[in-house]
């Protein structure tokens, strides 16, 4: 079996006496769209922030294509091929959409300390291509501050792809979007995953998105991994029902 793109093992993180994360292990393969779900406070964000390097785990490790990246700085991890989008989409508001992607490309290519030649023409073609792929080409010259929120999310995705990542971390990629936008966004992510051979790890509250598109689902509850399997297996898992609904008989497949 080939080395997984991402492998995390026995990740543990305490805050005082609270176990935000308690011995969580899973892995993602190339071309896989993996959903990380769980009730509020389950440890999804902690898990994300450890993989991304914003937090350091108390114990356990993170490997990217077999290489230990535990505790590296976020920018190091980014340069090693991990793209990230945030729950509240963040882009560089004072730049045009095109400049945003150019900036991401310049950073990914290690050209940040260029002090003299203008950045204007650097990576322009590649940036336009990325905007094209995410459906943003028509808005390339618009200042990011004037974009609609759905467009900001797609711009952020284009930026996350700029480093040609092996792994994409998406924290609630469809939060704040309308139902139609949600489906379009996740379809786009899915198509990119296939086309680029990406591995995508995403958290999501919208169950229609999770169960309609994920290849596999990992469920966290109170810092522990309680399920890891196909959509059908997780939907039928009593432990997952227990965690989400406190045992009440209801359908998980409905959007909240």
């Amino acid at each position: 079996m080939s080395v997984p793109v991402l492998e995390i093992s026995a990740l543990t993180k305490h805050y005082g006496g609270v176990h935000a994360l308690d011995g969580v292990s899973f892995s993602i393969a190339r071309g896989e769209l993996l959903a990380l779900i769980g009730p509020n406070g389950a440890g999804k964000s902690t898990c994300f922030n450890i993989i991304n390097g914003q937090l350091r785990p108390d114990s356990g490790w993170v490997r990217l294509a077999g290489r230990d990246i535990t505790g590296l700085a976020p920018r190091r991890i980014a340069r090693l091929g991990v793209g990230r989008t945030f729950q509240i989409a963040t882009v560089f508001a004072s730049m045009t959409a095109l400049e945003n992607v150019q900036m991401a490309l310049i950073a990914a290519r290690g050209q940040v300390f260029g002090l003299w030649s203008p950045a204007r023409r650097m990576g322009r073609e590649d940036a336009l291509a990325l905007l094209e792929q995410t459906g943003m080409a028509a808005l390339a010259e618009r200042p990011a501050a004037t974009l609609a929120y759905g467009d900001v999310k797609r711009l952020e995705l284009a930026m996350a792809l700029a480093g040609d990542p092996a792994l994409l971390l998406m924290d609630e990629p469809t939060a704040g979007m309308s139902s139609g936008e949600r489906q379009a966004m996740i379809a786009l992510v899915r198509q990119l995953t296939r086309a680029r051979g990406l591995a995508v790890l995403f958290t999501e509250h919208a169950m229609d998105v999770v169960f309609g598109h994920a290849d596999r689902v990992v469920v966290l509850a109170r810092g522990r991994l309680i399920a890891n399997g196909s959509v059908e297996a997780v939907q039928g898992d009593p432990a997952v029902r227990q965690a989400y609904l406190g045992g009440a008989p209801s359908s998980l497949s409905e959007a909240p």
């Binding site: 920018r75 560089f92 730049m95 200042p143």
Partner: protein, 628 residues
């Protein structure tokens, strides 16, 4: 050095720590609740002392010495608190929603105004207060005489700490303060009278500062330099202790004061045949304490990581290179300035004034690189101006180097300073960055003041005249114009280069920048170093232009001049700082010679800007996409 003298100095350290603590505690409480760093906090300390030395003899004449002295202190504290409340109601209430930079500037304007008002009311001479009745003696302690008043002061700090602790834990007012410190919106949502709470907190904070100042009555004379020196110290204490922590403020005050006391106690130390006078190294020691703490605990000893501050105010429009018209205007301006020497035949003053403007333009543009694209408002840019000026002056006079080489030495000095201080400053953001840069500038200023062998002390260095062909007004002016144009071109290239893009990216969203693989601190560090070096060039030109350099020329006032220039012209535009520099230089030239209260007037101008355009000056101007 004996063990006894060490112990003796340790007690002394406790006494100084109390004074520091009282200022820092008030600063910290006010920041915790209102999120405003009160730049005028040292002014309330100074006012407390001036009021005390005035009230004590007045009250003493009626009620007797003892009652006069203690009544004077209490009265001074109360009057300061009342003034604080007045300031909060009249000024601060209008700027709570304004950008951070404007809040800092507004309270700094207050500092300038209070200083000039004090000069007007009490005059420029130091004023000595009466001795403390009953505590004017000294106790025999390990063979030394320890002033009773120092022992009393040493006890006051912990007492106030205890009092504040009880106030915060046991009273409703204290609970409200703690609640507001944790979550302001929640307190407002609970229907608590926020306005009243803020006023009360500001009065409490300034009252404590005034109390601290008044207590110094028996120790040091009231003088006009106190506000800034105390402010610098308080910033160091707050940065070391952790913003918002009262306990941290006391521990940090003690740490800083004890390290200083230790240096004094060590006195002359011989290392490898060299004799060092440790008592002159107190400032360096203070810096080292801060450096070590910031490396080990970036948020201070008891501080918590600062929450990511949402950027207030709208995002800047994308930067666009100059169009055809813009290029023509720049070219015309260049021709005009290059032609100024021709005007010299008609108006001999023209090249002199133009030289001032050119130097100011380089100074303001270098600051703008940090403030605009970098989003980091430095309140201590004067430090690098000073390092450049002193480096140049020292190389030209003492070392006797030729003019270009002396100028290069100045720039190198500024660069070294900016690299060293910048390493610490870029670890912080927002008000913390502002405080730390100001503290460093105070340290540079104090070194210029104290290291007489090298800097000439308060007189400064004289006879810094350039060699031919720079020795004529026109020669020097053209050289300065050349240097400035080079500097401006460099800044402009930087801003449009990948580096400038990354600097702006880090300002817009640090989180996104890091996640994209940008080394934010390194980018900012380099920006700091470049800005400092170019600022040093402005300082070097200044030294040659005036033929001398003194501590007064590099005081915090110069840092503020820079901020005002950038704001006058508009922080969002690359050309703005140049217009602001020209405007302020002209204004200074017209008003400065007319009035001794120039600084206070500048303060009023700043206040006016802030109050008229509370969301930033740029908001008051029509925004034009493609404007330079």
């Amino acid at each position: 050095m004996s063990f006894e003298s060490l112990l003796f100095q340790a007690v002394n350290g406790f006494a100084s720590a109390s004074g520091l603590f009282l200022v820092a505690a008030g600063l910290s409480i006010i920041f915790g609740v209102t999120r405003i760093v009160n730049m005028a906090h040292g002014s309330f300390y100074m006012l407390g002392l001036y009021l005390a030395v005035t009230l004590a003899p007045l009250l003493g004449a009626t009620f007797g010495g003892a009652l006069g002295f203690w009544g004077g202190i209490l009265g001074a504290a109360l009057v300061t608190a009342a003034l604080g409340a007045l300031v909060e109601v009249v000024l601060l209430r209008r700027i709570y929603a304004a950008p951070e930079l404007y809040q800092l500037l507004a309270t700094f304007a207050l500092l300038l105004i209070v200083n000039d008002a004090t000069l007007y009311l009490w005059g420029p001479e130091d004023i000595l207060g009466p001795q403390a009745p009953g505590l004017s003696g000294a106790v025999e302690f390990l063979g030394r005489r320890l002033p009773e008043y120092d022992i009393f002061l040493a006890l006051i700090g912990p007492l106030v700490l205890l009092g504040l602790h009880l106030l915060l834990k046991r009273t409703r007012f204290g609970r409200l303060i703690r609640a507001a410190t944790q979550d302001r919106e929640m307190v407002a949502a609970l229907g608590i009278n926020e306005a009243l709470l803020f006023t009360a907190v500001f009065a409490l904070g300034t009252g404590i500062a005034g109390f601290g100042g008044a207590l110094q009555m028996a120790r040091e004379p009231a003088n006009l330099a106190l506000d800034l020196s105390v402010l610098g110290d308080a910033f160091v204490v707050v940065v070391v202790g952790g913003m918002g922590s009262i306990r941290g403020a006391y521990v940090a005050a003690l740490l800083v004061a004890e390290v200083k006391a230790l240096c004094t106690a060590l006195g002359l130390v011989e290392v490898g045949g060299f004799t060092f006078n440790m008592s002159r190294l107190t400032l360096v020691a203070e810096f080292l304490v801060m450096a070590v703490v910031l490396v080990v605990r970036p948020h201070g000893l008891f501080g918590r990581p600062q929450p990511a501050q949402a950027r207030r105010g709208e995002a800047e429009a994308p930067l666009v290179p100059l169009g055809r018209t813009g290029r023509l205007i720049v070219l015309a301006a260049l021709v005009f300035f290059a032609g100024i020497p021709l005007l010299g035949a008609v108006a001999s003053y023209a090249p002199v004034l133009a030289l001032d403007m050119v130097i100011a333009a380089l100074f303001a543009a270098s600051l703008h690189l940090l403030m605009g694209p970098g989003g980091l408002a430095s309140f201590g840019h004067a430090a690098y101006f000073g390092l450049g000026a002193y480096g140049t002056a020292y190389a030209a006079t003492v070392l006797g180097l030729p003019t270009p080489l002396a100028f290069a030495v100045g720039m190198a000095t500024a660069a070294a300073g900016a690299v060293l201080f910048g390493w610490f400053c870029v670890r912080l953001e927002g008000v913390y960055f502002a405080m730390l840069t100001l503290a460093f500038a105070q340290i540079v200023w104090s070194i210029a003041h104290q290291w007489e062998e090298v800097t000439g002390g308060s007189n400064g260095l004289f006879g810094v005249w350039p060699d031919p062909p720079f020795d004529s007004a026109n020669g020097l002016y053209l050289a300065a114009l050349g240097v400035t144009v080079l500097g401006l071109v460099l800044i402009r290239r930087l801003v449009f280069a990948p580096f400038g893009l990354a600097l702006r990216a880090a300002r817009d969203s640090r989180l996104r920048a890091e996640a994209s693989g940008i080394a934010v601190e390194k980018v900012r560090w380099l920006a700091f170093a470049i800005a400092g070096t170019l600022c040093g060039a402005a300082g070097g030109l200044f030294a040659f232009a005036k033929g001398s350099i003194s501590p007064e020329a590099i005081s915090v006032g110069r840092s503020i001049d820079g901020l005002v220039m950038v704001l006058l012209g508009g922080v969002h535009s690359l050309m703005g700082p140049l217009l602001g520099a020209g405007g302020l230089t002209l204004l200074q030239d017209m008003v400065m010679r007319e009035s001794p209260y120039w600084r206070g007037l500048l303060g009023l101008i700043i206040l006016l800007i802030v109050l008229l355009f509370p969301s930033g000056l740029a908001a008051g101007l029509p925004r034009k996409r493609g404007a330079p």
